[in-house]
Symmetry: C2
């Protein structure tokens, strides 16, 4: 088993911290982003800058056709909700994209097997998994199990009595404030990241969607000054 | 739970039989094919014709970037093996595409949730699963489990004590000859399907790759005359 990893990198804060965590932990980390017709495509430029700043071994953007599957405010013509009371909402929000993390992880798995990596990193965390089913620990465990059954590398490792793929979720139990603190510890330049679901064409955050609210609260709770 | 289904349709014989099986069984079956940079893109035209002939409710082609992940004779610049002794080979062949069925099923899952289908059909079978890890029953079961954890629909059904997604694999234990017989029973026009891994630009089968050999043997064992 080697130290090569594929890290899902969205351009947001969370995945930047996962990338930095694996790079600082001695992994050769290859970043993978998706152009899936998201309205916040600005995040792809952020992902490229983050990959460089944090020290990814490579950065690749895969195009996928998730827009064809519609049914989410992030990909279809549904308004992004603003000014919600995110602290007290436990519903699955309309920004949920059907099976998005399953699709992203399956592409990461294909890339991992192709480049002979046996680690995948993904920035799911406790703040998200109250709302998104594909951010929960049970989902991640089920995917890891699938990965080891689905691939030549997984089957060969199992036959040797070992295990091939490990899915790393270093943020799983962290609050947004803890993620912000971890970013600072790991030297991630958070000004390069973008969390907003509905930025302006120039990439300016709206400040009002769930993601902006959670980010601002994370900064405040971590004792950092608000972002410009 | 409704009767709506997403069926992975490659343009080959096996998935055509799965589609016909579900349509004849009373499902509203929506076919999903992939343009993934495969060298045998001719199969996409076959898929469209099969969808029409068999009676799919719709047919959609999703573009995905699997070529970027290389490492297979079907997507990279590696020769398709010819004249192999397919009856006595149990290795994973070079035509294996890393994690292909995981990627395909995850897209089918996204589409299923978006169109409110709770069935997925896939043409994996016993002939393949000696060679491809992602055709084995254990893989299919692990995916079904993941599907019910990964999605809003799965979580909601589980909370009501039910189950959302069923993955249908009606060919799982069939030989190629049994699949050919099933195609005839179900009225599938096999002349519309293409199994070859390396057809001519006009779509003419090579007759020598593993897929052509298995298909020809299936016809012979089913007592049908060889194809023109």
């Amino acid at each position: 088993m080697n130290r090569r990893a594929v890290v899902l990198l969205s351009g947001g804060m969370d995945s930047a911290v996962v990338l930095a965590h694996l790079v600082r932990g001695g992994h050769e980390a290859h970043a993978l982003s998706f152009d899936y017709g998201q309205r916040h495509r600005h995040e792809l430029a952020c992902a490229a800058r983050v990959a460089r700043q944090v020290g990814a071994a490579s950065h690749r953007v895969a195009s996928i056709d998730l827009r064809a599957f519609g049914a989410s405010a992030l990909t279809a013509d549904i308004a992004v909700p603003k000014d919600r009371d995110v602290a007290h909402s436990h519903d699955i929000p309309v920004t949920y994209v059907p099976a998005r993390n399953t699709v992203f992880l399956s592409h990461a798995l294909a890339m991992a097997e192709a480049i002979e990596a046996c680690h995948i990193g993904i920035g799911v965390n406790a703040v998200d998994y109250s709302g998104y089913p594909d951010c929960r620990p049970a989902f991640v465990e089920a995917f890891e199990r699938l990965a080891n059954l689905a691939t030549r590398a997984g089957v060969e490792a199992t036959e040797r009595g070992g295990r091939w793929m490990t899915v790393h979720t270093p943020l799983l139990d962290l609050s947004k404030a803890q993620i912000v603190r971890r970013a600072v510890e790991l030297g991630v330049d958070l000004s390069l990241t973008s969390s907003c679901y509905d930025p302006s064409p120039e990439g300016r955050a709206c400040g009002r969607c769930d993601a902006c609210q959670l980010r601002a609260r994370g900064f405040a709770d971590a004792g950092l000054p608000p972002e410009a």
